[in-house]
Subunit: 191 residues, 2 copies
């Protein structure tokens, strides 16, 4: 998505350790007009699919997910993060390792809001190692629902998540795919 | 806002201890069409005010805040919660006590995204004891910016936050104000 790529080029900041800061428009401060255009692009990419529900994970995926739900005309569900294992009968849970924060967290969804047979589109801001997407797919599977695919704003294509999850058959659409980053440049995949 | 009141009557669940569960449409699963209508109502209520930025706090305020930013045509900033005190020079922080979880958390905003003189509208899903709103007002004050007011989806008017903060001169618009709750009924304020 050219608009997002241009914005990353203009406002993204590369930090040591392969960190891309986009907190001026995506995951701390949010440009809602850009996010709305991203949601419409996701709708275009998944125009051939019936989608019953959008699923994301707190916190930085929520804005984009809510706008995507508005465009699709369907509910949005966000998984909650918890440091403690919640053994309630009422929730689906899975463990997700955060490479950024080097900690494992439980990710929780109320059973009430994911139903067998529902067609779920997963939305998130970043795809790098793929742990969050994998955890969300696991939760959808526990519910007996079906993952239609995943839409992410930015894929770090030089990290292994995208290839591994596509290899498992997950359809992933990334609005911007980064091939490589260095202190003074960001190279995008040509596709 | 009648549409929100009707939805709370239909889908809200009162739990022991004065807890109102609205996680089927507001803060776990989200109805984006309702949230968009809420954002438009907030725009109507603050039509007389110039607003440069929307400020909320993760996680459950984000969806509503992003839609409000879309309607106002301005950026949205969400404060992050942290259990550790972050002493970075780059952030404004304050401490917010959560009565729900009975724990204090640091609330952080990057200094880069709040500027002196900016006119800030605070948006959140709930107002009860007012600790979150108060913390966000504190952060806006640290930045030398100005709080235009606060818009909340649901005010528990039987709890002290609204009265205390209005007493300090904060303009608060609540889309639904609950006068009292019991196991089998929710009474709304007439206003």
């Amino acid at each position: 998505m050219q608009q997002l790529i241009e914005r990353i080029k203009r406002d993204g900041v590369v930090r040591p350790g392969g960190v891309l800061k986009v907190d001026s428009f995506l995951n701390h401060q949010i440009d809602p007009a850009l996010s709305y255009d991203m949601a419409k692009e996701i709708r275009r990419l998944f125009a051939d699919e019936k989608v019953d529900k959008i699923l994301t994970i707190e916190a930085s995926g929520i804005g984009m997910a809510v706008l995507t739900g508005l465009v699709f005309g369907c509910p949005v569900l966000f998984a909650k993060k918890s440091k403690t294992i919640n053994l309630s009968d009422d929730i689906y849970s899975t463990t997700v390792y955060s490479f950024t924060h080097q900690v494992s967290k439980q990710v929780l969804v109320s059973k009430r809001y994911l139903n067998p047979g529902e067609r779920v589109l997963i939305v998130d801001d970043f795809l790098a190692n793929g742990a969050a997407l994998e955890g969300l797919c696991d939760i959808v599977g526990q519910a007996g629902a079906e993952v239609v695919g995943a839409a992410v704003a930015i894929e770090k294509a030089f990290q292994p998540g995208g290839e591994r999850l596509r290899g498992k058959g997950l359809r992933i659409e990334a609005l911007a795919r980064i091939a490589s980053m260095s202190d003074d440049s960001i190279e995008f995949c040509e596709d």
